[in-house]
Symmetry: C2
Subunit: 156 residues, 2 copies
């Protein structure tokens, strides 16, 4: 049993945090925690779904007005990009890059509303991003930009 | 967009049900639904976690006294076995075998408390079982038997 420190780590963007997740190694296949109702970040359940990301592919950019995302990558590896253009933010203009996945970066990332985010498959096979949200999907509540939109200075 | 009929299908075991899940095909990688707060099976959130199952491996048997499981297999394929030895059940003695996974069997399976269940990896690579429960994990609340225990007449 590979229990990890549950301490929260901050990032270069206000409100974006990382917390390691427990992985219970087993020769038959590991058990991987994601979220539970006594987790310090749990507020309410909205939806849990998966986004498959093929090797090299970029899925970006997306922004939610109200929904908080909680990402984990239980299969493969992805690069997550986050951009802060919130007018009142202490980190306005900041870009953050995080590598999520196994075996070295199995953790939960919280992305509050009103931040742009996107991700890219980094494994040689498809990767799986799991998302636990506090609201169910509502197309009226989110916006998209092309992955190469010039308003987000991120070098994929 | 590949929208599917949300109708619930029964099985040979009382209380074990299957419901197809939406898969949104995308050349960059599919989006796969699992559970949301307006799903007819949603009662409350306990925990969501993953169990990796290596090819051919059997993880069995387990039984919960109080917890309801909701399984989906977003990566790979597994064979799920369920055994009913509930004394009062109308299907006491029944065995059920279900194949879960992609691309042909991406669905949600609900397993109520007090049934024995186990699963086996059927893909040529590790498979990933996702479990959405109505209670967080509590070792006091579950029991285990060896996969080959003679009290469960299941031919793995």
């Amino acid at each position: 049993v590979d229990r990890v420190d549950r301490s929260e780590k901050t990032t270069s963007i206000e409100g974006v945090s990382i917390m390691p997740l427990n992985v219970f190694a087993d020769e038959r296949g590991a058990v991987l925690h994601m979220m539970r109702n006594n987790h310090p970040w749990f507020v309410r359940f909205g939806e849990v779904y998966f986004s498959e990301v093929k090797p090299g592919v970029i899925k970006a950019w997306k922004r939610h007005r109200e929904m908080t995302q909680h990402f984990a990558v239980p299969w493969g590896e992805i690069r997550l990009g986050v951009f802060d253009d919130r007018p009142e933010s202490s980190t306005k203009g900041a870009l953050e890059t995080l590598i999520l996945g196994r075996p070295d970066n199995y953790c939960l990332v919280r992305i509050p509303p009103r931040l742009w985010y996107g991700f890219q498959g980094k494994a040689s096979h498809p990767s799986l991003l799991a998302n636990f949200t506090d609201l169910p999907h509502d197309p009226e509540e989110s916006e998209n930009l092309d992955w190469h939109d010039p308003s987000i200075p991120f070098a994929w």
